[in-house]
Symmetry: D3
Subunit: 131 residues, 6 copies
Amino acid sequence: MSAPREPIEYAQASPEVRAVYDDIMATRGADWVNNFWKVLAHDPPTLRRIWANIKAVMGPGALDPLTKELLYTAVSASNGCHYCIASHSAAARAKGMSEAQYWELLAIVGLANETNRLVTALGVPVDERFQ
Amino acid sequence: MSAPREPIEYAQASPEVRAVYDDIMATRGADWVNNFWKVLAHDPPTLRRIWANIKAVMGPGALDPLTKELLYTAVSASNGCHYCIASHSAAARAKGMSEAQYWELLAIVGLANETNRLVTALGVPVDERFQ
Amino acid sequence: MSAPREPIEYAQASPEVRAVYDDIMATRGADWVNNFWKVLAHDPPTLRRIWANIKAVMGPGALDPLTKELLYTAVSASNGCHYCIASHSAAARAKGMSEAQYWELLAIVGLANETNRLVTALGVPVDERFQ
Amino acid sequence: MSAPREPIEYAQASPEVRAVYDDIMATRGADWVNNFWKVLAHDPPTLRRIWANIKAVMGPGALDPLTKELLYTAVSASNGCHYCIASHSAAARAKGMSEAQYWELLAIVGLANETNRLVTALGVPVDERFQ
Amino acid sequence: MSAPREPIEYAQASPEVRAVYDDIMATRGADWVNNFWKVLAHDPPTLRRIWANIKAVMGPGALDPLTKELLYTAVSASNGCHYCIASHSAAARAKGMSEAQYWELLAIVGLANETNRLVTALGVPVDERFQ
Amino acid sequence: MSAPREPIEYAQASPEVRAVYDDIMATRGADWVNNFWKVLAHDPPTLRRIWANIKAVMGPGALDPLTKELLYTAVSASNGCHYCIASHSAAARAKGMSEAQYWELLAIVGLANETNRLVTALGVPVDERFQ
């Protein structure tokens, strides 16, 4: 019972789950749904809620779509979430991220984690100009 | 002795520290140096090494300068490093980040931290298409 | 030598290790011991110390046993420790956690990680009423 | 501009922000709104979205209200978010958490963080019975 | 009620709390007790349990006392716990840590956090020789 | 494309990558290079930069080589980076770390993670003597 949940395929999904799958595919212009949603489908209220959030946050806004995926990938890489790195770096590549840009992203994630620790351990005071 | 280190101002700095401060200002086209460097100045080898890394990673490359600062800010926000958020969001604003873009960045950082936990706890299997 | 340690089964265990295994089984009313203890058994002082802590903290107290396991599972899910999620969610189910309760727990873990980042990044001041 | 955002009081709030404040107070049966919401109010879409999530996740469900606040507090304590610990432990106390229960919660948070690291570092294999 | 707990001084402490304070001072050859213990004193079972653990883990063993304090300081610096960095770096200094050693420790903490992210994001396979 | 990168063996490596591999082997007195470097080799600038940092930070200095590897292993264990624990604990063993010392290191890592949370959640004030 504590094992990883099996993804629920479209064919086995309830109408309310299919409605979310349909909206995901329509929003993305895709003909498939990735496993994250198929696992969340075990709890339809969570599926609906998280999709509504992703749709709102990752949809059209002040930042361009590629930048949004880069930010999502960077936080996921910093947190060490393999699935999230795989899915969001794939989305970033589909939106134009080059191999060189991915390596720069990883370099920034690594360096930020290094300097974050130095800053915190040393108690660096915030400069007046930053306030 | 364990208290936060005092920033070392240019006037009090040794020649080798001043050389790094000068390079920071020249690279940035700025007439001042922020406290992070003035605290690292207590250990010149660390000051030189970290600056060389920041200069290489944050300098011209495949990602544009604003995107780089957004990524640095996002990782710092995810890690909860106040000074790093203040300094890199200031740099991002100087490079053009709008208030609306900053709120979107924070929304992505928050959402990624939420879904990263759901994915990991549920053991979502990586889709074949992502491999 | 750096590979994951093999679990030490009861049959191969030393008397001092068996004494801890016996106490674990007696305390839990179980006829088996899970791998965490069988791996800690490579270092008997650590085995004894950690068991003494778990027994004290997770034993009868002000919180009921199910709530304690829910809290342990939530922190483990937040930290991304697969084994800990598996073992403590199994213990929580054995104490009555339903599938619906588990999904709510995960929703809270995810949401707390999201709002924690927003709060920290925005530097929200603590309300006087909370002090 | 990078400084912590000032809370926006009801008197200064726009109608759309007031609508959220009103819903928060009505839902909680309270006559005030805490700073988290007053800071999010700088970005109304984020304010509305996060409140919709909190309302859905922390509202009536399979877990009782006190257990939900305990879980939120535990994750916040594990993440080291001061404001979140203050606000959610206050909510938990209002729902009945005793001082003894709070100390047990903290003990579990601490112990889970200890054993999570031991489990991960030792690569403990998941028991068949947990799968 | 959610505010930070006031340290309990020796003069106000109960006999059972004083017994722990006495053991801390005797074990350390010190004439004072630091705030961590004075705050834990609000919950005597936690005070006794944590002190028993610290005494066992940080007492004489296979690693020398200075190395132990360096390790404690490094983990605390990596986690961003200000009080823990202050108290354990003070203990390390009292046991002989030099300023140069402290800077090297911080450099290792920073670098490990950087490479940990690169390794995890890139999914580096463990070399056979390490197994 | 998002799959883990394949290690690049010496035979397939470009001259600039071989130059780094050669320097790693010469510095370590080893006749092989571990997978971390073979994966970073996909981006030669990152390979060179990270090696330069490791060489500077982990080379001769104020802390002895074994202590440095213990610190690197401890931070990696705290962060849950499997590859990093495997590689740096192997390096620590090669420099003399005993099995008993490794268990003490893990005990300190676990305990520091426990007390770090208690300290942060309780808001323990820094003692004057530590400042």
